[in-house]
Amino acid sequence: MTDAFTDHFGALRDHFPGQDLPWLAELRDRGLQRFAESGLPTPRLESWKYTSLRPIEKVDFAATGVPRACVSIDQAPSLLPDHTDCHRLVFVDGHLRRDLSQLGDLPAGAKLLPLSEQLAADPDWLQTHLDRLDDSQLPPMLALNTAMMMNGFVLHLTRGTVLPHPVEVVHLGGAGDAPLAYHPRNLVVLEEGSQATLIEHFSHMGEQAYLSNSMTEASVGAGAILRHYKLQADALNAFHLATVEAEIGRDATYDSFVMTTGARLSRNETSVRLNGEGATCHLNGAYLVRGEQHCDNTTVVDHLVPNTTCREVFKGVIDDKARAVFQGKLKVHRDAQHTNGHQLSKVLLLSDRAEIDAKPELEIYADDVVCSHGATAGDLDHDALFYLRARGIPEAEARAMLIEAFLGESIDQIAAEGLCPALMTSIGHWLADSRREV
């Protein structure tokens, strides 16, 4: 597999955006070298203990070079009831589709554009953000992304800029005639006091297998607020690997919610560094998986300075032979007194063969902190089920009501108007599909 990706690199080398920039060409080379050394992560790596990428190795992925014109589509779906005002970027099979995108009226001080354009317009600015990772520490998938990054977007808000409307980024996969692999690289920079809502929607146009290995770097400046919500409803034979690295400044907030219903194998890996006093992050998520799906949510939160807060709740519904992984690491550094960190994983196991591996991890080097973690797993509440049925509600509906209620509590917390109904609808569809199969 490592060879296949190396081949992709060779084939695409001349197509990579910014290849004329020496720093970027070198960065890519170093990424590839690092990946060639490490190969795909295996369960021998502590952080990949419960998620095996073996199924990826069995697919013969082609590299996605130039966009193919044959994919015909008039418009991309939206998660927002009224998306006329929002700023939309639509990617099909990893490529930006300008005809489907709509940048809208961006206020002064706001920039939203594809990575390739930013490379052409202001490569120096981009270099300060991209070329700062320590190569030797680069995890394998990130190294691969660094080598192969091709598409993606840049969102940059200057000091005090508030985006009144959300940015919606839609990714549609599975349209091709061969399995494709792509590695989007996104950059979000919110300067002091700025605010944005970023909604990512992964869906599919066909059932072809595809691999999306994305990396999003977010920098949230002092007092800034980034609301970052994602629905991953990829095709059921897709592979979805997404890494988010966020740096949160003084009194800034990063509010994140990741919902997963799709992909054969998915991993959301989020690392947050709270490095300004008063920094807050909410890392929440919900997932519904069945069949032989595998869904991994891995988070690492570093509390680096005093008075930072992290709240984390992941709720999952697992049916059939599906498997979920929750790894939550909370690291309170020596100076980070008065850290407030809470983490919870709650799971409903709907079948005997459903599985959850929950691994909370607290590493605390400060002595005056309030931290907690918890993990629960169980069946639907039988008493509640009987109560609903005794009132006339048929079993399937009663089960659906309880599942919706279980996840709905998390979704209600999302601070993006209009998004909650879309997520509840996706839960409704999932439950309806489950019932149809019975």
Binding site: D381, H382, D383, A384, F386, Y387, L388, R389, A390, R391, G392, I393, P394, E395, E397, A398, M401, L402, E404, A405, F406, G408, E409
Partner: protein, 248 residues
Amino acid sequence: MLEIKNLHATVDGKAILKGIDLSIQAGEVHAIMGPNGSGKSTLSYILTGREGYELTEGEILFKGKDLREMEPEERAGEGLFLAFQYPVEIPGVPNTTFLKEALNAIRRYRGEDELDAMQFVKMVREKTKLLGINDEMLKRAVNVGFSGGEKKRNEALQMAVLEPAMAILDETDSGLDIDALKTVANSVNLLRKPENAMLVITHYQRLLEYIVPDRVHVLADGRIQRSGGKELALELEEKGYAEFAGAA
């Protein structure tokens, strides 16, 4: 309306009901009284089809239909209602959603048109007014954070909304203050019509002051030991269940 013949039932393999015969006609209110552990709650769960409660012998006919083969929701559709001794908390489900789903599920079962949101709200408001229940209770999640009295009031409201042909009240008076007791009794008495019937399961006679029964049965050791008119309840209140202790 309800015919129970030679009913035997087990819970976790243990025999709890050991041959019950009971016949309740439309328009009647029957009370079942008995000491703790006599099988009163088992009877209510057997009638409503709870998992883990197994009917091993005998039969139950409700409006002439055999209940044994029916799922709990079908029994509710037929008009059977159990007011729970311990109403269940359901986080995340608003009370009003629950009531509407239940009512419309039952209407669907009967081949009747479902009520839309407007019709439903209007109907529920009438019921809450009639029972003196604060509408605020409708917005809260089902029974979550409700006091004991509020939970029983909520059972009464469900009963008033669903209008069952036959209500079974399982220890509805346990842990109730006098006001909540009256709300429950009001709700029950609203249903007291010639075409409806009621089975009141209780340890004490207190509730029967508000819901006056036509027949009183003493259940002990899984069997009905004695039956009589409403005066039997008073006699039990005075003498206790000692007389039946030998049987239990």
